[in-house]
Every structure is written in structure tokens, then in C-alpha cells.
């Protein structure tokens, strides 16, 4: 044995004969053992203390926040829930644990709507370990099934998207697919925000929405119309307080809705708005200086523009001034005013009013208006009374809000404005112009000869303009099918809200003496809407004859042979 090896052997197996040395070696070994053990314990100890201290350690927490966060809710402007999540219990079974499948099927069948006893038995005898029986178990059925005590039946927790307000604002809310991905409306456009668990607050007010929807529905039923739409816009902020499109659908049963019901007429539907455009035409003529309020236009003879002949519904033998053209809704007068404005200027105003482009709303369902590429003389003339250009009711509301409100075009929105929001504002009309337009719109409703007198909601100073357009069909216009529109602004002495309502294809009724014009079909709905929503909006009724109100209106108009008065109804 070499001496080196001997030394190592001594360390492991010391030579017996030297007790002192062997004791030393033993002590050395013990010390090493102690240190190693101590080291291990200290390591484990510090790790334990460390783990116990770190409360939000990602390795330990069972859920990773953010990924599993529940989809955010959609609320109305007052915080009322329009879309939310409902916890549901998923009922599933493990057929291999079933003791008696036919007995279980018989017991379960009365509680499950989508299965009968036969189909259940087939499911429960499958050779798998998981069959889903119901995805939307209500708490009541949950406890009932639990009480049956069937072995092999299990419950799991899940959640579904619900729209508790049924039809209200269905088109705006949109829908999600089974994987909770937004596929329409706000659900689609705000998907990333909602998916991260954040709530979305809309500009819509549920109460106003409900009033407008039900009043439009009433008129649709009364006049056997095929549809309707309505928009309520806040003139000062551009917030859309209500957007209704009828027929609508129950978003909780989206798959049952027809394509027609899913179509959003208020923002995606394009219509020739007819005479309601005369409001814009008047504002443009006054603002551009092409006409003054007392200027008279010769309307006694039909106007010929290339191949068109423009006539008036009620011919007038005397020249009409600008307020009379609006109150009597003269096509010839409007056409003459538009000719004085000129094609280029008119097109520029239409562009500024956002009527040539799609509205940048927060939903995907918006359309680009249909307007002629080349703005000829005929275009200028027809656009003056709302033909040759097709826009959505939302477009109309936002343009009229500019012409009859603050004079500014404000970017409309479906989301509630926050305090530091600075929406796009374009100054288009002066205060004088809008005051004149408002006063004339008021006369359309308050004057005895006005076309919109059924919209008079006493005390609320409603102003408006009717529009009854023949519907476009292949190759021209259908003389029998109408599109009745009404655009209202109230209160006219302090403009705050604009309502645009459209009823598609109303039919003349006995109670309307055969008329299916906007004055008969839409104006009464506007009156009822204003009477119901004004208290909600905090608009107080005023005495129209009080000097305080009169000084806010323009009154130096002559309508017919008399000076225009506000309280002429």
C-alpha cells in the first residue's frame, strides 16, 4: 500500500491503536455533519420564511389575475346595467359512474328543457367520462337536481353574457359569440376594454331610450309601418341620449333575430330625408348671405331644372319670404334659395355638417351617405328639399343640432363624455343664424298653418320640421310608399336637445283621414316624447307669452298676412 493511500484510509478508517487521534478524527466528522445539517435547515428555514412572507408570489397564487377577469359590463349614463354577466352552473355527468342510467334520465328529464328522456338516456350511456347536459342551470334547478342525489352528476361554475333590459338599445349593445368575443355593436368596438374587465359607460339614458322606443313602436303599429328609427341628441355635448331602431330584437336570443331586426336603421340605414333638409337649406342660405329672412321668392310657377319640374304640394300665388318657405314647406322656394347659395357653397356646407362622410360613432354599424359625385345644378336644387342625398337619422340629428343649436357641429358620440373630454367642434353657423332657424322651426309647430302642429307640447317650446319623402325604388320613386321624418329641437328659446324620428312606409288610416304624412304620423309621437322626457331631462315648461321668452326668439317675421306670433296656436 502506498503512503498516500494509507493517509486517505486513515481518514476513513483510522488505525485503532491510536485513541487520541481517532477521537480527533471523530470530532472532526461530527462537526462537518453538524455544519451540513445546519446549512440544510437554515436554507429550508429561510426559504419557508421567505415564501410565507411573499403574499403575492405568482408561483403560489392559484389564479392569475387579468387573464381570468370577467368581461366588463356596459352601463347607461346613470350607471344602470345594460349588459353584464350572469353566473351559471354547468351541469355535466360522468356516464361511467352512473349506477342506473335509465332511472337517472327519467329523474333529470323534467328539469332539462333541451333534452327528453330518450336523448338523455342516450347521452348517459355514452362511453366517455364527460357529457354536458345543460349550460344555463338556474339556481332553482340547480338545487332541485342536487336534491335528486344522482351519482355521477356534477356541477361546474361558468358565466354567460346577459342583456337584462331585453330590447332596450339592443342595436347599440351588439352581441358576443360563445367565446365572449364581441361580434356587433359596442361589444365589438369596445371588445379589448371590456375583455380586460373594464366597464363601458354609454351616453344612452335607459329611461329616455325606453320612451322613444315605445312611442315609435306605437306609431308603427298605428300606421302599419314596416319600421322606424329615432335619435335623441344633446346639442351641447354631442352625446346621443337615445338611439332606437325598430323592429329590434332581444339580444339574449340573438340567434332568433331576423336580419331586418338586426339592421340598425338609426346609424346604418340611409334614407332621403325629404323636407327636413329645408332646415339645413335655410340655415345655409342665411349664413352664406344668399338670403335674408324677409327676402321674398317667387313660387307661383313650377320651376324647371333640366329634365325636372319642381312643384309645391300646396301652390302659392304670392311670393313667399324665407320663414314662409319653411312653414309652408315650399319646394320651389327652397330650390330658389339653394340656387342663390350655389352648388359649391352648398356642397362645402354639407361636407362641414358631416353629411358626405360616415359618422365616427363607437359602433361598427355606420354607413357612408349616398351623395352624387358631381354636384350639378340639379343636385343643388334637389338637395335643398332633401332628395338626391341619403343619410342616416343620426346624421340628420347631428346636422340639425348644428343648424338650430349652438351653431357648432360637434362630433356625436355613444360614450358618456368625461369632464376633460374635448370633442371636435366646428363653428359653422353664427348665433344669429341659429336663432332665426330655431324661431322658424318653432313657427312650423306653433303656427296654425304649420305642418308640424301636432308636435306642440305646450310649454316646452318645441320647434321642428316635417319631411314626407317618397321612397326610392328601382328606377325612380314609389308614389305610394312614404318615408315620414320629423326633426325637432327643444326648448327653442334655450336649445338643448334634438330629436330625429323616422317612420318607414306608414299607411294612411281612418283616424288620420287617409294621411300618412309626417305631420300626422310622426309629429304626435314627438309631442308625447317631449312631454315624457322633458321632466327626466330637467327641462321646465315655460310661459311662451312671457317677455323673457319672447326676447330670446326672433319675431319680426310675416307669415301669411299677419305678423308671426309665438302663441298663434
Amino acid at each position: 500500500m502506498t503512503p498516500g493511500l494509507q493517509k486517505i484510509r486513515h481518514l476513513i478508517l483510522p488505525s485503532r491503536p491510536d485513541p487520541a487521534q481517532s477521537r480527533q478524527i471523530a470530532e472532526g466528522r461530527l462537526l462537518i455533519c453538524c455544519l451540513v445539517a445546519l446549512g440544510i435547515f437554515v436554507t429550508i428555514g429561510t426559504r419557508i420564511v421567505g415564501l410565507a412572507n411573499s403574499s403575492n408570489d405568482t408561483h403560489l397564487s392559484p389564479k392569475k389575475p387579468g387573464i381570468n377577469a370577467e368581461r366588463g359590463r356596459i352601463l347607461d349614463r346613470k350607471g344602470r346595467m345594460l349588459a353584464g354577466n350572469l353566473p351559471v352552473t354547468v351541469l355535466h355527468a360522468d356516464p361511467s359512474e352512473m349506477m342506473n342510467a335509465s332511472d337517472a334520465a327519467a329523474k333529470l328529464a323534467p328539469f332539462l328543457a333541451q333534452h327528453d328522456q330518450k336523448s338523455l338516456q342516450k347521452l348517459l350511456t355514452k362511453k366517455t367520462r364527460y357529457v354536458e347536459l345543460d349550460r344555463q342551470l338556474t339556481p332553482k334547478r340547480h338545487s332541485q337536481i342536487l336534491r335528486l342525489g344522482i351519482p355521477g352528476v356534477y356541477f361546474a361554475k361558468g358565466s354567460i353574457r346577459i342583456y337584462p333590459r331585453d330590447h332596450a338599445a339592443a342595436h347599440i349593445l351588439g352581441h358576443v359569440d360563445t367565446a365572449n368575443n364581441g361580434i356587433a355593436g359596442i361589444e365589438k368596438s369596445m371588445h379589448s376594454k371590456l375583455a380586460s374587465g373594464e366597464d363601458v359607460i354609454l351616453s344612452i339614458d335607459l329611461g329616455l331610450q325606453s320612451v322613444i322606443r315605445s312611442e315609435i313602436q306605437k306609431q308603427i303599429d298605428k300606421f302599419e309601418a314596416i319600421g322606424g328609427a329615432g335619435v335623441l341628441l344633446d346639442v351641447k355635448t354631442g352625446e346621443m341620449l337615445a338611439v332606437a331602431s325598430l323592429p329590434d330584437f332581444n339580444p339574449n336570443q340573438f340567434s332568433l333575430a331576423s336580419d331586418d331586426a338586426r339592421f340598425n336603421r338609426a346609424t346604418k340605414g340611409l334614407y332621403e330625408m325629404g323636407s327636413t333638409f329645408k332646415v339645413l337649406n335655410t340655415a345655409i342660405a342665411l349664413e352664406s348671405g344668399a338670403a335674408t329672412t324677409n327676402q321674398r321668392f317667387e313660387v307661383s310657377k313650377p320651376l324647371r331644372v333640366s329634365r325636372f319640374t319642381i312643384t309645391d304640394y300646396h301652390p302659392h300665388s304670392k311670393p313667399l319670404n324665407v320663414p314662409e318657405i319653411l312653414v309652408y314647406s315650399s319646394n320651389i322656394g327652397s330650390a330658389l334659395m339653394a340656387e342663390a347659395v350655389g352648388a359649391k357653397t352648398q356642397r362645402a356646407y354639407m361636407d362641414k355638417l358631416g353629411l358626405l362622410d360616415r359618422l365616427e360613432l363607437e359602433i361598427p354599424e355606420v354607413s357612408r351617405p349616398l351623395s352624387p359625385k358631381q354636384w350639378r345644378r340639379t343636385t343643388t336644387v334637389t338637395v335643398s328639399y332633401g332628395h338626391g342625398i341619403s343619410i342616416s337619422p343620426a346624421h340628420l340629428a347631428s346636422a340639425v343640432a348644428a343648424a338650430s343649436g349652438t351653431g357648432q357641429w360637434i362630433q356625436p358620440t355613444l360614450l358618456k363624455r368625461q369632464k376633460n373630454d374635448t370633442p371636435l367642434r366646428l363653428r359653422i353657423f353664427s348665433e344669429d343664424t341659429t336663432r332665426a332657424v330655431r324661431s322658424m322651426m318653432r313657427l312650423v309647430v306653433s303656427h296654425a298653418d304649420g305642418t308640424g302642429k301636432f308636435a306642440e307640447a305646450r310649454g316646452y317650446m318645441v320647434g321642428g320640421k316635417t319631411g314626407t319623402a317618397e321612397k326610392i325604388q328601382a328606377g325612380g320613386y314609389n308614389k305610394k310608399a312614404n318615408l315620414a321624418t320629423f326633426v325637432a329641437t327643444f326648448p327653442t328659446h334655450e336649445p338643448r336637445y334634438v330629436i330625429a324620428i323616422l317612420i318607414d312606409d306608414p299607411k294612411g288610416q281612418k283616424h288620420s283621414f287617409g294621411y300618412s304624412t309626417a305631420g300626422w304620423v310622426v309629429a304626435p309621437a314627438v309631442r308625447r316624447i317631449v312631454e315624457q322626457i322633458a321632466p327626466i331631462l330637467g327641462v321646465l315648461p315655460v310661459d311662451e307669452k312671457s317677455p323673457l321668452i319672447r326676447q330670446k326668439m326672433l319675431l319680426d317675421f310675416t307669415i301669411g298676412n299677419k305678423e308671426a306670433t309665438l302663441a298663434s296656436y
Binding site: S210, V211, S214, E531
Partner: protein
């Protein structure tokens, strides 16, 4: 020998602490799990109740109910007034006091107190 004893004691001490820490963590985890479960259950209950409330408080439903059961209808414009249009109520006690004070003053010739000249009005 002392070293061995000392390290043995330290070992025992560490072992005990380790055991205690371990059991306390188990306890706390049980507590945490219980809390999380009850929070989740309460949240589910709240979500169900909120959904139910939203469903039964639909404006059209409430309107139909208030129409049928309470015979309520939208308020007419002639019934709405701003608060400051309501005439103020006269505080008759103050008026009477003033009159009595005035009478006393006439009798005794004592100066009337300030503010007694007009009747106090309250809203």
C-alpha cells in the same frame, strides 16, 4: 462536547420553529381558501341579484305596472313648477310678534328692536 450539545439544541429549536411555521401556514391557507370561496360566492350572489334587479326594473315594465296598478301617468306640463316659483310661506307667528312689539312700543315709547319692522318669511 459542548459544541455538539449546542448544535443539537439549535437543531431542535430550528425543527420546532419549522414545524410551527408549517402548521401556521396550513392554517392560514385554509382560512384564505375559505375567505376566497365566500367572496366568490357572494360575488356570484351579487351578480345574480344585480341582473335580476336590472331585469325587473326595466322602464317599460315599471311604466306598465305603475299604469295598471297605481294609475300613474306622465306629469302634465301644467303641474310642473320650478322650486322658486312656489310662493314663500309667511311665518304668521313672526307677524303676530311684530305687531305685538309695535303695540308695546307705541305704549311705552321704547325703541323698536331692529328687524321688527317687517314680517319674517321662511321658505
Amino acid at each position: 462536547m459542548q459544541l455538539i450539545l449546542l448544535s443539537a439544541l439549535i437543531l431542535v429549536g430550528l425543527g420546532t420553529t419549522l414545524y410551527q411555521v408549517k402548521t401556521s401556514i396550513d392554517e392560514r391557507q385554509d382560512l384564505l381558501r375559505g375567505l376566497e370561496l365566500s367572496i366568490a360566492n357572494t360575488k356570484r350572489d351579487i351578480a345574480v341579484l344585480e341582473a335580476e334587479w336590472a331585469y325587473i326594473s326595466r322602464p317599460d315594465r315599471v311604466m306598465a305596472l305603475s299604469n295598471d296598478l297605481l294609475k300613474m301617468a306622465p306629469i302634465g306640463q301644467d303641474r310642473i313648477l320650478p322650486l322658486n316659483a312656489i310662493p314663500m310661506r309667511i311665518n304668521f307667528n313672526a307677524v303676530i310678534d311684530t305687531k305685538i312689539d309695535n303695540a308695546n312700543w307705541k305704549k311705552t315709547g321704547v325703541e323698536a328692536k331692529k328687524g321688527n319692522g317687517s314680517a319674517k318669511v321662511v321658505r
